[in-house]
């Protein structure tokens, strides 16, 4: 049915579907990042991730020297449900050489 509307246009969520069962990188609020295997997701971007590494970044400022101390905390979780409202960005993993 050739209509003037673009009914076959893909939505961003359709493209996330291509990442199912792949490892992905997720940026969350509160300076958190996740790297894990995407098992499931929905329109809210609730996600189920497997073999996940979470990285929490915090920046402290030294009272005397005023230098920024960037700290990262890591933990691994075998299976994780992520609530979608905390998600900022989803991407295939960053390829750091």
């Amino acid at each position: 049915m050739a209509s003037e509307e673009e009914s076959t246009v893909k939505e961003p969520l359709d493209l996330i579907r291509l990442s199912l069962d792949e490892r992905i990188y997720v940026k969350l609020r509160s300076d958190r990042e996740l790297r894990g295997k995407l098992h499931a997701y929905d329109q809210h971007l609730n996600m189920i991730l497997g073999d996940v590494e979470e990285i929490i970044t915090s920046v402290e400022i030294d009272d005397e020297t005023y230098e920024e101390i960037v700290r990262t905390t890591r933990r691994t979780v075998p299976f994780l449900f992520v609530r979608g409202d905390g998600v900022i960005l989803v991407s295939p993993p960053l390829r750091t050489a």
Binding site: K10, P12, L13, I16, V90
Partner: protein
């Protein structure tokens, strides 16, 4: 209860080529854009697609924090609630850095 934001057509009483927001969203696919998030982070890339919730899929995305390039993503999906604005830009990919 699903109200896709940006899908409403306000009576076109603008100046010149009066476009509704949804017309704008349809017209900018494939163009280089700047996406600013509520957190102040900037993403520049080529817009692959987007939907009425302002969920965004981009290619060749660069992340700028405080004006500094922080990350590059081959593909990026951004959850719409974080988006402050989407702006077209005359970004040349061969920008010297």
């Amino acid at each position: 209860m699903s109200t896709g934001g940006g899908g409403e057509k306000v009576g076109g009483g603008g100046s010149g080529s009066a476009k509704t927001p949804s017309d704008f969203l349809k017209s900018i696919r494939g163009r280089p854009v700047v996406v600013k998030l509520n957190s102040g982070v900037d993403y520049r890339g080529i817009l692959a697609c987007l939907d009425g919730y302002m969920n965004i899929a981009m290619e060749q995305t660069e992340e700028y924090v405080n004006g500094q390039l922080k990350n590059k993503y081959g593909d990026a999906f951004i959850r719409g609630n974080n988006v402050l604005y989407i702006s077209t830009s005359k970004r040349t990919i061969a920008d010297g850095g």
